[in-house]
Structure formats: C-alpha cells, structure tokens
C-alpha cells in the first residue's frame, strides 16, 4: 500500500534565509544587542583561551612524569599511562578483554532495547540471558579462572551497577506502582511505606546500611558479596523512584481505558498487561531515560563504601607516587566519558519521542 504525501518543495530553500535573519536580528539587531553579543563573545574567548592553551597547546602528549613537569599544560601522558587502570581498575591485567567484552554485551543489549523495532516480550528473555552472560564473562568464564568481585572496577563496574540497577528496579518499580494503586489496603500501605522511606533517605545512607549494618543481621558464618549488596541497595533505591514514574504513567491514562477493558470482560492481569501498562509505560519513557542518566551518574557514590567505580579509579590513579597529583587530567578524562554517555542518552530520548509521535500520528 502506498500513501501519497504532499511535500512542499519550496520549504527548505525558504526556511534557511529565515533562520539566518532571525539570528542576525537577535545578535546584531540593535546597538544594545551588538554590545551584548560582543561582550559575551569576548567573555567566552577569555574563558576558552586558557582552557584551550592548557588542554592542547601547552599539553604533553607522551613520555614520563618528568616530561610533564617540564611543561605547563595538561599532562595527557598521564592518561596514556593510566587509562588501563582508570577504565578497568584492579581487574587482572592479562584478562582485560573479558571486562571489555562484558561491557560490549551490556552496551549492545541497551542499544537494541532502545530501538522501537525490537520491542517485544522476547526482550525480557534477552535481558536475563545477556546480563547473566555478561556477569559470567566478567567473573572469568571464558578463561575458566575466577575473577572475584573485589577485583572488578572502573567502567565495567559503573556500567554493570547502573544497567543491572535499572533492569532490576524496573519490575520492582512496576509492581510497587501497581500495589500503590491497588484496592487492597495492606498492600497499598506497604507500597507507600517502602516508596516514601526509600525516597526520604539519601542513596549514601542506603549504601552504608547495605555495607555496614546489613552484614551484622546475617546469621554467623553467612556472608553476601559486598558488590552484590551494593547492587541490591541500588535496585531498591531506584525502584522507589521508578514506581512513582510508572504511577504517573498509570494516572495519565483516561479512566475510559480501564472501563473499556472491564467491559470487554478482561481480567485484572490481562487488562494491565494488554491495555494499561503498554500505554502507561510508553507515556513515561522520557522520564525513564532521565532516571537512567541520574542513576548512571549516581553510581559514583559507591566510592564511599570502597568500591572502585570509574570515578574512583580515576581519583586513585592520581595517587601513584611516580604520577602524583594529575587531578585535572584524570577528572577531565572521566568527565568527557560521563558526558558522552549522558548526552547520547538525552539525544536518544529526544529521537525516541519524535519516533513515537510520528507513529502516533501515522495511526
């Protein structure tokens, strides 16, 4: 079937001069605007020039710490020497590729999930399988030599903590949101209590409890891995926020949707699965992406319980006696990585909204 769409041919050629005219008017339209434009341009130049000089012109690109000390700019030789430690942390040197593979698996999973054309229930199975696979690879399955979790670190840890944190919080958050809107009073109260308590305390406190207090409550002789405890803490914490986002989605649906489903004779489970949740979740995708970005950046808090996440490995890299104190370079490097990922996620969110809107319109 073909659909004839009328496209206005002149649109591109007419819009461009319009846009420039608007720019010109805005920047140089009046003497005041000219003055503001010039002042801001000078300010930007004054701020950017020393930064550029530090980062590029006066920088040292290779060699030793002595070479760096001889020049005044950034010491990128430090990053060249330390990038492996910053990215992989304490992970055994000769088996880095395992950690890289685990990250690649998880990244592939996230990218595939982001494309609407792959959206189906099979994704749930894919998530379980691929995450289990990534953890096994990280743990040393390909070489058959165990890598204990205290050797995990760097970017793989940040990626795993945030992605598994989000994936684990998703079903829990949906369940909490449904419980909070349930007509069963006890269930509703329990959900409200959990959500409000989790939202009422900072993530750092939750991490502290998981590391320091929780082990005291276990029967003697029983121990749960520290990373696993931190991961569960993150899942519980994020699920509370997730629940509130899902609840917003549920509330955004007109009651007609519920009534119509009931009129069709659908059971509560079928109504939720086939009618309500697909619409409600789609409505809150931008909020989900927002939460995911926040979580990705918040995982840096695991530094307080001594885990070597990406930010912490960068910080620790600057304490090597022979490469002492290159904080600016280390933090610039991690900032670029964090920014790249977060910016890509926010652009993706915009793209997805446009896609979904286009679909909606074409229906």
């Amino acid at each position: 079937m073909t659909i004839a769409v009328w496209e206005p041919r002149l649109r591109p050629s007419r819009r461009r001069p319009d846009r420039w005219a608007a720019w010109r008017r805005g920047l140089f339209g009046s003497p005041l605007n000219i003055a503001i434009t010039l002042a801001l341009a000078l300010l930007a130049l004054a701020a950017a020039a020393p930064a550029l000089r530090w980062a590029l012109l006066d920088a040292t690109w290779g060699g030793t710490a002595q070479d760096c000390a001889a020049r005044s700019g950034a010491c990128w030789a430090f990053i060249a020497e330390k990038w492996r430690f910053i990215v992989f942390g304490l992970y055994p040197n000769d088996r880095d590729w395992q950690a890289a593979l685990a990250v690649a698996l998880v990244a592939g999973l996230v990218i595939v999930t982001g494309l609407p054309r792959f959206w189906s229930t099979r994704l749930i199975a894919a998530w379980i399988v691929v995450l289990a696979l990534a953890l096994a690879v990280m743990g040393g399955a390909p070489t058959g030599r165990l890598v204990p979790t205290d050797k995990w670190g760097g970017l793989p840890m940040t990626v795993l903590l945030s992605v598994i944190g989000f994936a684990g919080a998703f079903p829990l958050g949906v369940a909490l949101a449904l419980a909070r809107r349930s007509e069963m009073r006890l269930l509703r109260w329990m959900a409200i209590a959990f959500i409000e308590v989790m939202r009422g305390i900072p993530l750092i406190a939750v991490l502290y409890v998981s590391t320091l207090i929780f082990p005291l409550m276990l029967p003697p002789g029983m121990a749960i891995d520290k990373l696993a405890r931190a991961q569960v803490a993150i899942i519980l914490f994020v699920s509370a926020y997730m629940a509130e986002i899902v609840r917003a989605g549920l509330q955004s649906l007109p009651t007609g949707q519920y009534e119509a489903s009931r009129a069709l004779g659908l059971s509560w489970w079928m109504m939720m699965r086939l009618v309500i949740l697909p619409q409600a979740l789609k409505a809150v995708i931008p909020a989900f992406v927002n939460l995911a970005i926040g979580l990705f950046l918040d995982t840096t808090l695991v530094i307080v319980i001594g885990l070597f996440d990406f930010l912490n490995t960068a910080r620790v890299a600057t304490t090597d006696a022979s490469w002492n104190g290159y904080h600016n370079e280390a933090y610039t490097f991690v900032a670029i990585v964090y920014f790249t990922v977060s910016y890509a996620a926010s652009r993706y969110s915009l793209w997805l909204e446009a896609q979904l809107r286009a679909r909606q319109d074409s229906k």
Binding site: T211, R315, T319, N324
Partner: protein, 347 residues
C-alpha cells in the same frame, strides 16, 4: 530439682545465651582466635587501606603498592606464606573504623593515629606503631634555617579546618618567637603560597608536606624541618577482643624491625642462615623451637625478609629518599640509630 524446672532453666539459659551471642555480634566484639579462623577459611586477609602516594596506591597495572601495603603482604606471609593472599580495600576515613567494627576488614593499615579514645571508647586494639608522623614545617631553603626554633617573625601558611593552627601557635609561644599565621582554605593555593613566596613556611602533617614538596616545580629548593609539633603515631588497628590475631599483627611488624636491627636484608638473609648467633637462629627459624612454641611457621620472619625486606628496605622502597615522596627516616629508624623503632626480643 524437678525435670519441669530443669526444662525452664535450660530454655531460659539457651535464650539468654542466644541473646548474648547476637548482642556481642552486634557490638562487633570478636572471640579469641575467631579472626584467624575466619581468615584461614576465607583463604585471604582483608585489609582496609587508604589512598596516598607511597603509602598505598595501585600502580598502572592495578597492583597495590606502598609502605602500608607491604605490611599487609607481610601479614599474609605470616599466615599463609604467600604475599598475594591478601585483599586490600580502600575506603574513606569516615567509613574505615565502622567497617573494621562491622568485620569487613581483619585489620586496618590505613594510617590510623593511635589515641586513647580509639582504644577505650571505640574498642580497638593497636599493633606496633609502624610510622611516626607529626606536624612539620616546610620552608624555602633560601631562608637559611635548619631548625624550627630559628624561625622568628615568619609568615606561616596553615590550612583551615585543621588542628595545625593551635599547634603552631603553641610552638612559637613556647620558643618565645613571633609569627604571622596565614589561613588558607584551598589545597592548591596552600602549596602555591610557599612556591610564590607569599609565606615563609607551611605547616601540616610531615608526611603530607613531603608529598606536597614532591609536586613542586623545584622540590630541592624546599626543606622539611626536623621538628614535629604534634604526635601522629600510625599503627595497625584491629577489633578489640582477639588477642591471638593482635599478637600475629604485633610480631609480623616486629620481625621487620628486628631484622633491620640485626642488619638482615632481603639480599643477605640467606647468609645469616648459617649464623652461630642463637638469637638470629631463633629469629630466622633455623632453630624451630620458637615457632613451634607460638604456633606459627618457624620461618615466618625469614619468609617476610626474603620477600619484602626489613623495615628499612620497605621504608626506602616506598617513601624513602630515592622515591618521589622523598621522606626522611627521622624517628622511623631503629632505636640503635636514634630512632623510635624498638622490637621486643624474639625468644
């Protein structure tokens, strides 16, 4: 006593016992020998550390290196005869002591200052002091002073929020000299104040000053004065209540100190194996009676020296004059050379 009563008493005792056990667990109190059993069943020692150049830092390959790290490896040698059977975990200063209390670490080698409050109120045992630190003075060599007492009318940079300001005021008052304090907030500015000549001297923990000096463009133009204005003895910390583990920590540290006093190094340790001196024979386990008596590998001291070297070697390799940290031995040399390191006899 009737069976009925007996039952109630047994039950009550059992309940009370269970309560006590859980209470002592919550308090983190360890039973004698418990730590070593846990370490042995786990197969490694868990050590809490910090991150500071020369003292504890992973190298580019992610392997932990440093002065305190070597003592952690020495412990692993004492227990397992394997320097790798130890796991180092870095955590923030606020979290270290509660984490030790919670049993997350077997020993803290993070540069904890031994104080009476920590011993009594927090319930920690401290091993032998492995590093004598204290507030020091860093000056420009151009001032031409070699002792703190020669400073008169100097401008001294103090970092805000530290106890350093009180100590330095006491120091100058005691010597009947005057000074002008300059309180500086930012660490970077603190350092550049001395480099630019805005202040004549900086005061802070000596180890910290040594590290800052290493970051100067011309470190050799500056001098760390010998005086210490405060006492900061850094010692391994363990949970109170496990005497056996404490003794293992004690004698592991003493072994490195005693070896230096004997003049035994990583290089020459094998030549001492044939020594006729009974003290050295006992120390190196050539005469195994001592090790058998204390329940440790009789050769634990030999193994430590052979792998890591004596105290002096550990010091020089990580933070000594030839390293970027460039620390003077100061008080941290054997009592026979005018320092404070003193090991009880191995007999």
């Amino acid at each position: 006593m009737s069976i009925f009563h007996g039952n109630i008493i047994t039950k009550t005792t059992a309940t009370l016992g269970a309560l006590l056990v859980s209470a002592s667990m919550l308090a983190g109190a360890a039973q004698a020998g418990e730590t070593l059993d846990k370490i042995k069943s786990r197969g490694q020692i868990k050590v809490g550390v910090g991150t500071l150049p020369g003292f504890f830092a992973p190298d580019s390959n992610g392997k932990w290196q440093g002065f305190f790290i070597d003592f952690g490896r020495a412990l692993a040698i004492t227990v397992f005869n394997d320097p790798e059977k130890v796991e180092f975990t870095s955590s923030s200063p606020q979290q270290r002591l509660p984490a030790l209390q919670a049993g997350e670490f077997d020993v803290l080698l993070s540069g904890v200052t031994q104080t009476i409050t920590r011993s009594f109120k927090l319930g920690f045992h401290f091993g032998p002091i492995v590093f004598y630190d204290g507030q020091g003075l860093l000056v420009a060599k151009s001032l031409d002073v070699t002792k703190g007492t020669e400073l008169d009318g100097a401008t001294v940079g103090v970092q805000s929020g530290t106890t350093g300001e009180l100590n330095i005021a006491d120091f100058f008052r005691k010597n009947g000299k005057t000074f002008t304090p300059v309180v500086i907030e930012d660490t970077k500015e603190f350092v550049s104040a001395l480099e630019s000549g805005r202040v004549d001297a900086l005061t802070q923990d000596a180890s910290d000053l040594a590290l800052k000096r290493a970051q100067f463009a011309k470190p050799d133009d500056f001098l760390l004065l010998p005086e210490r204005l405060s006492k900061e003895p850094l010692a391994p910390a363990i949970r109170a209540g496990d005497d056996q583990w404490l003794e293992i920590v004690n004698w592991t540290v003493y072994a490195t100190i005693q070896a230096e006093e004997f003049g035994i190094t990583r290089e020459n340790v094998d030549s001492f194996l044939t020594s006729e001196d009974p003290a050295i024979k006992r120390f190196l386990g050539v005469d195994p009676s001592l090790g058998e008596a204390i329940g440790l590998d009789p050769k634990f001291a030999y193994n430590i020296i052979k792998t890591l070297g004596n105290y002096g070697e550990i010091f020089e390799r990580n933070i000594g004059k030839s390293t970027p940290v460039g620390f003077e031995r100061g008080y941290n040399q054997p009592w026979t050379q005018g320092g404070l390191l003193y090991s009880p006899p191995f007999r």
